[in-house]
Symmetry: C3
Subunit: 139 residues, 3 copies
C-alpha cells in the first residue's frame, strides 16, 4: 500500500467560478501508478469547495443560481461589517458545500459516472490561485 | 493494511427516493474481514448523493421537503432547455449533497450513532439502477 | 502504512453550536507520529455535522443564519409530530451538511488554509456530549 501526494493549481476568476478538474485528477492518478485504491481531494482555503456535477454550462448555471438563492451576495453579512472584505457570502457557501471528496479507483481509472465530473468551486469575490491537494492511496 | 472493494446495487424509484443502505454496508464490512479501518462510499452518477440520517419516515419526508424548497422541481432550469430531459433539479440537488462519505470502523463494526443510518438519495426523475462503490481499508 | 484512531469529546450547548476542533485534531495528529497521510473525521449521531470555516464570530453567525433560513426551527416537521422531541430541523440540517471530512497531512501538519478551521456543528435542541472519531492514516 502506498500513498502519493500531488497538487493541482488553478487560476480562477472567483465569483462562483466552477472549474472541471477531472483531467488534472486523472493525470495525477496516471502519474501515481496506482491501480486499485482511493483518491482523496481537499481544497485549502475557506472560500472554495469541491463536488461533482455533469459539467455542461446549463447545469453549472443552474447550480450557481441555486447557491446564489441559498446565500445571496447582496445581503448584509456580519463578516463584511467586521472585516470589510465583502466576501461573507463566499465563506458561507464554501462551508455548506465542503472542502473534501473521495473517489474510488479501479484498474487505474476513476470510478465516476460517464457524465460526472469533479469540480472546484471558487466562491471568493476576486480571482484566486487555488491549490487542490490530491492524495492517491492504494496498490 | 488491505483495501477491499465491492459494490451495492439498488433499484430505486427515483424522484428523491431515500434508501437505507446500512445493512448492505454492514454486510460488505463483514465480508471484508477488516477489524479496524475506514469505509469509503461513493455513488457514481450525477443525479444521486450519499449522507446519513435517522431513517424514520417523518425525518426522511422533512429532508425531502427541505431539498424541494432549495431546488424546486417545477421551476425553469437551463439544463432542461438544452437537453430536454427535465432533470435539471436532480443534478443541482446531487451536487449540493455530494457523492462521497467515509465511516470509521472499529472492532469489526461501523462507528455510526445508534440512530444514524447511511442513505443513498436518488434525485433523478425516473427509476434507476444505482451502484454505490464500497471500499474498506484497514487491518 | 499505519492507521491510528482516537476521539475528540466535546461538551456542546446544542442549538447550532459551532465549535472549532482544529486544536484537538492537531493534537491527535501530533500524538500519532504520522508525517504524511490523511486525517479522516466522522461525527457519530444524526443531529451533528462537520465542515471547515474561517472561525471568526461574524462568519459563524452568517452561516448559522443561512442554515436557519434553509431549515427553520419554527416550522412544522413530521419528525416532531411522530416523536415529539422537537428537533426535526436538527436532523435535516445535519443530513444536508454531512458527518464526514478528510484533511491531508504533510510534514506532520494539517494542510488546511491559513484561515480555515475544522468545526463541529451541533444542531440538536439541547446540550450534548459529542464524539468526533479521528483516524490518521499514513507513514
Amino acid at each position: 500500500m502506498e500513498i502519493h501526494r500531488t497538487a493541482i493549481h488553478c487560476q480562477t476568476s472567483g465569483n462562483t467560478d466552477v472549474i472541471d478538474i477531472t483531467p488534472q485528477v486523472t493525470e495525477a492518478l496516471r502519474g501515481s501508478g496506482i491501480k486499485e485504491g482511493v483518491v482523496f481531494l481537499f481544497v485549502a482555503g475557506s472560500t472554495a469547495a469541491l463536488t461533482t456535477i455533469e459539467y455542461e454550462q446549463g447545469v453549472v448555471n443552474d447550480l450557481i443560481r441555486t447557491i446564489e438563492k441559498i446565500a445571496p451576495q447582496n445581503i448584509s453579512y456580519q463578516h463584511n461589517l467586521r472585516w470589510g472584505d465583502g466576501n461573507g457570502y463566499s465563506h458561507v457557501r464554501a462551508s455548506l458545500l465542503g472542502p473534501s471528496l473521495n473517489i474510488p479507483v479501479t484498474n487505474k481509472k476513476l470510478l465516476v459516472g460517464a457524465w460526472q465530473q469533479i469540480v472546484l468551486l471558487d466562491f471568493d469575490n476576486r480571482p484566486r490561485e487555488r491549490e487542490v491537494v490530491v492524495q492517491i492511496l492504494g496498490n
